[in-house]
Symmetry: C2
Subunit: 194 residues, 2 copies
DNA sequence: CGTTACATACCGACCAGACGGTTTGGAGTC
DNA sequence: GACTCCAAACCGTCTGGTCGGTATGTAACG
């Protein structure tokens, strides 16, 4: 149990510092100091500074994938499922705002192998998302005059941008915001004639 | 004339390296080496590494603002102006992809004063953009059931995301893509009943 | 035209300190 | 006494930035 606490505390501190100052600009010294442990302790649980960063990615990727799987497994008509997926990922992104900041800003700081791993896992997610849109197109619900890749980028851009502008002090309630963003996306996605 | 070349060459090299490796991960040594000049020459024209970064921001901010001013000055009905503005900023962002990468990724590496300056200039841009949307709302063209701040974020998220997924080798023609993204945005912006 | 006076442009060796990471050693537990 | 867990001292490398010095240009003066 103590084991967990040290490693967790280090990760927590690393996340906060990476989000605030960026990965390359944060020293291992700062991290262990903020976590209240020593370098020896940290290097006992992690093999490198890079390892710390990847642990953050690992957590995010697993979480997102799990939630996507749960929602699609529950089933329902295409637009309802897509709406649920979109709203959920917005809410989740708000709940994990620092993770998002680090996630999108520091990907290029990972070792090439780990970058590839992150890319692979993200593509898995995108592909499953693309399937939903393709299904909607077959059902003549969604437009097909714009490439699916553009439609997907159009949605994920909102997710990506959230950490840059959303403030917990702001007026927006997170569930409400999720509904609004999702509605904007679905509106642009639907056929004009449908 | 020689003066210009050295400073320009340094900026060009810095931009490429910052985009590729990130600001904090790029050394002054690498920059001057890539530019084919010495550190002494560089520090003759720039006062610090930070100065280099800010010069990149300065160029981008000036360019965007100038283009926005030109388009709004030309006039026209609200949706046409907004469409022109949106398409232009997409195209410009594609033309300046490395600048965009650095712009969005390394803002937090600037000194606090310069961060504030960038923020101020960006707000200027946003405010002018917001005016267009407000005008469209008054004319009952655009929806008003979603906060303007959310609508703006919804559009700029696409701009922000471009450097992360757009590839010059890809199938998308830039003007076409600009039209598509703009159309998606406008569709979600218009009143449902209108 | 020769000479002095000064500015601008640039070189590259150099520095102090911070960096990520390693090693050593000891305290606690089984 | 073997093992886990961690503290602290330590190491070689690389960093942004500095500085003494030089090369080139140009303007003024006699």
């Amino acid at each position: 149990m103590k084991t967990k606490n040290v490693a967790d505390e280090v990760l927590r501190a690393a996340l906060a510092l990476f989000a605030e100052q960026g990965y390359a600009n944060t020293s291992v010294q700062q991290i262990v100091q903020a976590a209240g442990v020593t370098k020896g302790a940290m290097y006992h649980y992690f093999t490198s500074k890079d390892d710390l960063l990847f642990a953050i990615y690992e957590r995010m990727l697993s979480l997102q994938k799990r939630r996507l799987d749960e929602i699609t497994a529950a089933g329902g008509d295409t637009e309802a499922v897509l709406r649920a997926v979109c709203e959920d990922v917005v809410v989740t992104s708000i709940d994990f705002l620092p993770e998002g900041t680090v996630f999108f800003r520091s990907q290029h700081m990972l070792t090439p192998e780990r970058q590839a791993e992150v890319k692979r896992r993200r593509r898995e997610y995108h592909d499953k998302f693309a399937e939903l849109i393709a299904r909607g197109q077959e059902e003549k619900l969604f437009r097909d005059d714009v490439p699916v890749s553009v439609l997907i980028a159009h949605f994920f851009s909102d997710i990506h941008y959230l950490p840059h502008w959303y403030s917990h002090e702001g007026p927006e309630n997170e569930a409400e915001l999720a509904a609004q963003i999702t509605e904007l996306f679905l509106r642009s996605l639907r056929r004009a004639d449908g």
